[in-house]
Structures are given as C-alpha cells and as structure tokens.
C-alpha cells in the first residue's frame, strides 16, 4: 500500500514538473535586445514571459536605469494578481493627495494601497515619480507575497530582515546593498522574479507563480500520511447534507460528498463530477456529460441514474433545489453518462445551483431508501469516506483509496483533489480557550472559530498560523413584514435612519481586523458588488428617524426584538442599537432568549417585530434568504420578485450587475432587514500543516502535515 502511494506521489511531482515547462509562455514575450548577457537576463525573461514586465515602447528594457515608484507598483500588481483587471476597476480614484484620478497608475496604486502593499509617506502623499529604493521595493514584495514585517523592529529593518530571510534581497548580487539606494530595473527584476517563483505564501504554502499564474509548483513536497485533528465548535445537527444547511455539517461532510459542479478560486462554478457540459443557445436545455469511472465509496461506478436520483432529491428537499426545480420541466438520463436538464424558463445559473454541496451525488439506492426521510447510509464520491460520527468525540473520515480525482491542478474548491492525510477527525471542543490551548500543545492541528480577542496574542506565536476568513458574513436584524408595526415601510426606514453602525460593529467584533463598514449585500470581494443604495447605509440621523416615526403614527408601542446571548455578537449589536433607537424615539423591548427559542418564535409572525441573525456569503442574488417570502420575515414585494426573476434569466454579466444594483437599491429603500456591516472569522492552525488554498471555507484535501 505504502509503495503504491509513493508511486502516486512521484507521478504527481513528475506531472507537475512536466506541466511547468509546457505552460511557460516564452513565445509571447517581447524581444528586449538590450538585456542580452545582463546578469538579470534570465529573471527579466521569466517575468516578461509571465506578462509581469513589459519593457519600453521602443522594445528596450534598460536594465541599468532606475525605476519610478509608480512603475514599481505596476510590477507588483501584475505579479500579485497575474494581471491588472482588479486595478482597472479602480482607475479614476485618487488614493493619495499627489496621485490624482487622472494619473496613469491611479488604479494600480489604489489597489496596492487597498491590499496593504503600499502605505505612502505618512503625509498622505505617495510621490509616484520618485525613484524607488531597494528597501521600498523589498517592502512591496514582502507585502505582496503575504509575509509580515518583523515585529519589534523599525522601518526599514522590519522589512529588510524579512526580505533577507525570504531570499528576496539576497538574490540581488550587488555587493554594497544599502538602504535608501535607488534600485536598478535589472535588480528589481531579480528581486521580483525570486519573490514570484520561490517565496511561499505563509498560509497556503503557494508561490505567486502558482497562485497567480498557475505555473511552477507549491514550495514544499506534499507528504502522505498522518491523522489531521480539527477542533470545531460543536456537533453537526444532522449528517444528511441534503436536508440541513448547517455549516458544521457541510464543512465536514463535503470531504465525502461531491456535487456536479464546484467553485474555482474566484468562486465561479466549474465542472467537478461533470466532465463537460453544453447549454442550448437559449439556455433552456442543459446537457451534462458525466466523468466516467467515478467510484462511490462502496466501489460502484457513478452513472446518470444516480445523478438523476440525487438531483431530484435536492430539488425536493432544499430551498436552492426548489428554486431550480420551479423552472425545470424535466431531468432525464439520456445514456449511462449523460444527463439532460430541460427548463421552462431560461437561466444561466444551472452550474451555480448544482455547485451546492446540498446537490451532492449519491448512489440511487441510497437515495431511494431514504426518500424524503433521513439518509441511512453515507456514501459519496469524495477523496475521504465517512466512517463514523461519535457525538462530542469526533466525526471521522478516512482516505478513500479508489478516489477518482479530477485530472489537472487544484483550482479553488475544484480541480484535482488529493487526500494526503490518512484520516481527518473533526473534534467538537465547545470552549474557544480550550481549542486554542489544544492547538498550542499540538493536540489539534487546526482550531476553527477562534475569538478575535485572541488575535494579537496568537499572531506572534511561532508554532501557530492565524487565518482571517474575509469576508465571512453580515450580522442583521430582520423585520416582521407580515404582522405588526414594521409592515409599514416608514417604520423600517426610521429604524435604519437612527443607526450609527461604527459603534455597533466595534462593540460586537472588537479588533478592527475582524469587521468593516459596508453597505453591499454582496461583499466587496464578489464580482457583483455594487455601490447602489450606499447613501442609506449608516445614516446616524435621529432627526430623520423621528420625522419618519411621526409620519407613520408611531406612539411608543414597544418593539419586540428577539436576540440571543448564545452568539454574543448578536446580543451586543442589539444592545448598542437599542440605545441609538431609543434616542430617536423608539421603545425597544429586547427579548433575550436562547437560540432554540429564537428560531421557534420567529416562525410565528404574531410573536415578534425584529430578530437578530447573520448571513454568510450568498453566491447569487436569487439565493438571498432575506428576500424570500418563505423565510421568517416574509418579504413579498412584487418589484423585488420581478427584479430577481429578471436576474435569474439574464446571462450577460454587465446586465446582471446593473440589475443587482437595482435589487440592492430596493433593499436599502424598502429595508426588509438591516445590514450592520461585514464581519470576519479567525481560524488557526499549526505551522506544520500546509497546502491550504486560502479559500473562504476550510477543506483538508490537498493539505498535508509536514514533520
């Protein structure tokens, strides 16, 4: 068995090396005649091949000339993001007082500033046309590769030390490196090439070459074996992924269950168990060609029948599934490996719907045996197979030795998945302090959901890596739009007008690394993010609130606000907001109950006016629960329904973005719920665990334990 795995590992490495050579895009690189024989020639050609360096319009590179700060930022952004599409979106903003929106590099410098790669001179200026020095360029590279400055040292030593350790500066073979000296373009290329090709990201272990360009290989050799111990908050409430939406269940069970599609590193759907697919030009008929020879954990091969049975159950039992099946005419197996989905209304969202873990594929007889009741057997196609759930002790997954991996490279949640560890144990440890202690002592490799207060203490510990999951969710207060005072939109608008979000978010989440103010109901990091409705967020305008209350004829009836201490942030938010609302003339009756009571009461419209909860990342506007008439709060606005139907049909990105802007504007005008801000999560893991992709949800395929 062991030799077999060694063989697999060797083959894997060989495959990686082979693919590296084939993927270098040397042909497209400019000629650059003036670098021939220069010490930096190899590095300049490497970066030019990746598209990071472009040379001057006259075809020269001038390796011995100096580099302007704005030009340095351009190199950094291309190296970090593999292109400048993110920067283009910011063209026209003025990130520093001396970088007007009209400056040729305004977008690049703004992105670098947002990403924490540059900070300017402290007086609000950036001096984009000054020559860049060695230490300034080293700092930009350190930040771009995800490293942190050394604590306890002052500028520039804090960055120089780290750059030297990482080899960024030592790669420059200039004898007398001195801080403050202007860097030559050749040396900058040497430093940047080294940073791109050889410096692993401290969390993912991936180089920029790998993560931004898909070339090279992650630093470090993956190692097979060991048991990965993951300390989680609590037990999964149910194991049937098609019935529960609980994060604990999804984040553990998705090691065993795989859907037809999954998400790539940009969170866009890509085929997973599906090999290729086609949609008819009108997006009404979807033909899914399945991968052949995919094995279930019981040894059988996945066929179209299993897919039809599984997706049908998904369509009956989940809210995502029902959204898809509302517009589905038929789902049939055309042959052993082809499934055809016919719709009665066009949508481009089929891959998005089918990328839900709730749409995982299981054998037909397992599905039939369960029907609409609970699953009795847990058989999937994943790289790990489910072994047992011992409540309060562990959920155990073992490597599935016959796993049918998708060929190619890992890409986000998708692409190639390899089970490096023999076994994963998810261990429920309710107390956050005990989860931390366990990771420190090495009893656990990973600790999830760590209290943000511990962040400063943990980030300096040598054995521990801290990971901020950004974004993670948005805390909210949902109005009862079926009964009571908040059926009147002016009441909801008054509520919104009275709120000052900063003190609320600060009290709830503390450390500034774990929250930010933002009006977007899709996060800033998501492609559909929109500015619409911004003016209604964070008004802090008690006078307007009072006026609206008077207009609505409010006479001090107590607002019944259901909240809970089980999630301390929810309670803190309601408490701080209560003060602000009462200053504006509301009378707030905070009903502090346990979570089980809250979810029971909120199903009955007679019992409440507002309740606290939080939403995670929503992948498409049509999936927003808070805009759904069948979720507590009962939002049923014909205009919103119409907009969502249009967005479901629309396939063009620009048009969808524009439509979503209207959805968001309506959200803020009609206020079905309050968005307080964005919050982020903290996970920690031991340094010897590596291979993390740095995605929003944790997964442990492609992750290995170094010893």
């Amino acid at each position: 068995m062991r030799t077999k795995w060694r063989l697999v590992a060797i083959l894997l490495v060989v495959a990686m090396i082979l693919s590296t050579t084939s993927m270098a895009v040397v042909d497209a690189a400019p000629a650059l005649p003036d670098i021939r024989g220069h010490p930096a020639e190899t590095d300049i050609r490497y970066l030019a091949g990746l598209g990071v360096l472009h040379g001057h319009p006259d075809g020269t590179f001038q390796p011995n000339a100096n580099l302007r700060r704005a030009e340095a930022v351009k190199i950094i952004i291309w190296a970090r993001y593999g292109g400048d599409s993110e920067a283009k979106a910011l063209v026209g903003t003025s990130p520093f007082t001396d970088v007007p929106g009209t400056h040729w590099a305004s977008g690049l410098i703004a992105l670098a500033r947002n990403a924490g790669i540059v900070h300017g001179h402290g007086d609000g200026t950036f001096r984009p046309d000054d020559w860049v020095t060695y230490d300034q360029f080293a700092k930009m590279l350190v930040e771009a590769t995800g490293l942190h400055p050394a604590p306890g040292l002052r500028w520039p030593d804090n960055y120089i030390t780290v750059a030297q350790t990482a080899g960024i500066l030592t790669a420059v073979r200039v004898p007398a490196f001195a801080p403050g000296r202007h860097a030559t373009r050749g040396d900058a290329a040497i430093m940047a090439a080294h940073a791109v090709a050889n410096v692993p990201h401290p969390i993912s272990g991936f180089t920029l070459a790998w993560s931004a360009f898909g070339v090279g290989q992650p630093v470090g050799t993956p190692r097979f074996g060991g048991t990965l111990r993951v300390a989680i908050m609590g037990n999964p409430p149910m194991l049937d992924v098609m019935r529960t939406t609980a994060t604990v269940t999804i984040n553990s069970m998705w090691h065993a269950f795989e859907p037809l599609f999954t998400l790539d590193r940009n969170y866009d759907p890509i085929p997973h168990l599906v090999d290729t697919f086609t949609a008819s030009p009108d997006n009404m008929v979807w033909t899914l060609n399945l991968r052949r020879g995919v094995r279930f954990h019981d040894g059988r091969t996945m066929t179209a029948e299993d897919v039809v049975a599984s997706v049908n159950r998904f369509g009956r039992l989940t809210s995502w599934g029902r959204s898809l099946f509302e517009i589905t005419t038929s789902l049939v197996a055309r042959d052993r490996y082809t499934v055809v989905l016919t719709l009665r209304e066009p949508t481009a969202l089929v891959p998005r719907f089918l990328s839900s873990v709730q749409a995982s594929i299981m054998p037909k007889d397992v599905i039939d045996e369960a029907g609409d009741a609970m699953l009795r057997r847990f058989i999937g196609t994943g790289p790990f197979r489910f072994v047992e759930f011992e409540p309060d002790r562990h959920i155990r997954f073992d490597r599935f030795v016959d796993y049918s991996a998708r060929p190619g490279r890992p890409n986000g949640y998708g692409g190639n998945r390899t089970a490096f560890v023999d076994r994963i144990l998810f261990i429920p440890v309710p107390d956050t302090a005990v989860r931390i202690a366990g990771v420190q002592t090495g009893e656990y490799h990973v600790g999830e959901w760590i209290a943000p207060d511990e962040y400063e203490r943990l980030r300096v510990m040598p054995d521990i890596v801290t990971r901020i999951i950004r974004p993670s969710g948005w805390p909210t207060a949902v109005f009862n739009k079926r009964e009571g005072m908040f059926t009147d939109v002016r009441m909801r608008q008054a509520f919104l007008a009275a709120l000052d979000m900063e003190p609320i978010m600060k009290a709830a989440y503390g450390h500034p690394a774990f929250w930010r103010l933002c009006h977007g109901i899709m996060f800033r990091e998501q492609a559909l993010f929109h500015e619409a409705g911004r003016q209604w967020y964070n008004q802090n305008n008690p006078a307007r609130a009072r006026a609206l209350l008077a207009e609505a004829g409010y006479r001090g009836q107590p607002v019944r606000w259901l909240t809970t201490m089980e999630y301390p942030a929810y309670y803190t938010i309601s408490l701080v907001a209560k003060g602000q609302l009462e200053r504006a003339g509301f009378v707030i009756d905070l009903q502090v109950v346990d979570w089980a009571t809250l979810v029971a009461r909120r199903a009955n419209p007679a019992l409440w006016d507002v309740f606290s909860t939080a939403f995670g990342v929503t992948w498409d506007p049509v999936l927003f629960l808070v805009l759904s008439p069948v979720w507590p709060g009962w939002y049923d606005n014909p205009r919103m329904r119409d907009l969502l139907a249009q967005i479901r049909r629309e396939t063009d990105f620009t048009k969808r973005h524009e439509l979503f802007g209207r959805v968001q504007a309506l959200f803020w005008e009609d206020v079905p719920a309050i968005k307080f801000g964005d919050n982020f999560l903290l996970h920690i893991h031991r340094r010897e665990v590596t291979g993390f992709a740095g995605m929003l949800a944790n997964f442990f395929w492609n992750v290995w334990i170094d010893r």
């Binding site: 202690a437 002592t441 009893e443 199903a603």
Partner: protein, 314 residues
C-alpha cells in the same frame, strides 16, 4: 433489611413516573424548536414544516406524552433527534467517561476533604487550621470552569504534563485514560472537597470534646490512634451523608467540567440536548439521572448500617 431495600426500590417507580411527567411537560412547554436547529439557518419554512411532521412533533402534546409513556414502559428511551442513535445507547456510550470522572473526582474529594478536615480539627485555631479552611473556602467559591481553565493553563500549556482536553477510553490504556481525566477530576474533586473538609472538621471537633476521647487519652493511647481509630470513626457518619450529597453535586458539576475539557460524557449530553431541544435525549437523561440519584441515596442509607450499628432499618 431485605424488605427495606425492596421497599425503597419500589418507591423508585412513582418517583420516576413523577420525574418523567414533570420533565416531559416542562421541556415541551418551554419555548424552543429542535427542527429549525437541525435544518440550519438557510432552510426555509417549508423544510421546517416537513421535518416537524416527519418527526411527529406536530402532534398534540398529550398524544406525544402518551407515546412516550408507552415506549418508557417497554424500556425504550426513544431515539435522539441529533445523535443518530437511540437515547439509551447514547447514554451508555458516555457512561464510562462520566462514571470514571466522578469516581476519580470523588476519590480526590474524599481524600483531600478528610485530610484537610482532620488536620484542621486537630490543629484547631492555629494557622494550619485557618489555612486549611481558607483552601476549602476557595474551593467552595471558585467557579469550576475558571478553575478548569487555570489548570489547563498551568499544567497543560505551562509544563505540558497533561492533555488540555479530550478523552481516552479505558480500553486504550489505563495510564492514558488517567492522564486524560486527571485535570477534569482535579477540577471537580477540588471543588467537591470543600464541603467534605468543613463537615469532617466540625464533626471531628464535636467528637474530640466527648468524654470517651478524654478517656482514651487518659489511658495513654497514642494521639494518632486516638484520632484515627477513636475519633474519626465516629465523626464519619455525618461525613458519609456529605459524601452522598457530594456525588449528586459531582454529577451536576460534571456538566460544566465535561464541556470545558471537551469530554464526551453524560453531562455534556445534558447541556447540548437542552440547548438544542433534543426532547428524547433530555427526557432519557432525566429518567436515567433520577434513577442513579435514588440508587446512590439508597446505597448511602445502607452504608449507615455498617458504620453505625445503632442504625437499623426494619
């Protein structure tokens, strides 16, 4: 004696019936819905309705009560909503952990409590006495979760002698089992020791002033033998009652300690079942714990007979 035991065991039946009924009604009349918790935050109200119906939770409460009685008389505690197994199995799976934890904690409580109590009584009104009573006062007032976290900080993170959390079953090695339970037992045992120490001290003081002790001293017995074989034996009876009550306290304390140390025991089952409204599990544990309480009390009462020949049950 046999008749007495039989009698006591028979009273178990009405006791349990009352516990079962009151417990059932309390749990079901309190607000809270397990179904929404099972389905997670992103489920909609149609899912909640379907699962409620499937689980029979939409039935009137009296119908549910009658069904629960029916199963109970057949010795069936029902099927847990969250644990994917029958409640009885869930309890049995966790019994070893909780039993060993309470056993070790009880040992620590008794040894520590008795030693502290005797020393304090013998050295009455000295600094030693005050120190011993200070320790027991601290034990009485300290919250167990805090003591647990402090012990983790000192002995698991500081010197790394013991694991910070988790449970190793007895079958996987006695030493490993003892190591995994040491910190939780110490936490629980230290807190249980306090009332025992106070009780032992006061009953020892009472006994030490009695005439037969003066006689024992007068006849030239060694102080050691006066205290251990004459005084202590008679001071033991109130202490045994205290120990019996401590067992009850330890089971209650186990709820917190098991949660802090992430032990898969009955205590943690109680707390998580209540938080999630796992009705069958709460009811099952309630019946089970009530039975244990009654039986432990019976054992303590029988122990009196052996400790004090004057006590007789008819």
């Amino acid at each position: 004696m046999k008749g007495y035991i039989l009698n006591r065991l028979l009273t178990l039946i009405p006791t349990l019936l009352i516990v079962a009924t009151v417990g059932f009604l309390l749990i079901h009349l309190a607000p809270g819905d397990p179904v929404a918790l099972m389905l997670g935050e992103e489920a909609d109200l149609r899912d909640v309705e379907l699962l409620t119906r499937q689980l029979g939770l939409d039935q009137p409460i009296l119908v549910q009560l009658v069904r629960w009685y029916g199963r109970l008389f057949r010795g069936d505690l029902g099927y847990s909503l969250f644990l994917h197994r029958p409640v009885l199995t869930a309890i049995m799976d966790r019994l070893e952990c909780t039993l060993l934890l309470t056993l070790y904690a009880l040992l620590i409580s008794v040894v520590l409590g008795v030693i502290l109590g005797i020393i304090a009584a013998v050295k009455q009104n000295t600094t030693i006495d005050q120190a011993a009573m200070l320790v027991s006062l601290v034990g009485l007032s300290m919250p167990s979760f805090w003591l647990g976290l402090m012990l983790i900080w000192l002995l698991a993170l500081g010197v790394r002698w013991f694991p910070s959390s988790g449970y190793v079953p007895l079958a996987e090695g006695v030493v490993a089992n003892l190591r995994s339970l040491f910190l939780p037992s110490l936490t629980l045992g230290f807190i249980g020791a306090a009332p025992i120490a106070r009780m032992v001290r006061s009953s020892m003081l009472e006994v030490l002033n009695l005439e037969y002790i003066r006689t024992a001293r007068a006849k030239g017995l060694k102080e050691r033998s006066v205290i251990l074989s004459h005084a202590f034996r008679n001071a033991l009876i109130p202490a045994v009652t205290m120990v019996g009550m401590t067992v009850g306290g330890l089971i209650a304390g186990a709820i917190i300690v098991e949660t802090v140390f992430a032990l898969p025991g009955v205590g943690r089952l109680v707390i998580s079942s209540i938080a999630r409204r796992d009705f069958p599990a709460i009811q099952g544990v309630l019946i089970f714990t009530a039975t244990v309480f009654v039986v432990v009390n019976l054992v303590v009462d029988i122990l009196y007979v052996y400790l004090d020949p004057r006590v007789k049950y008819l």
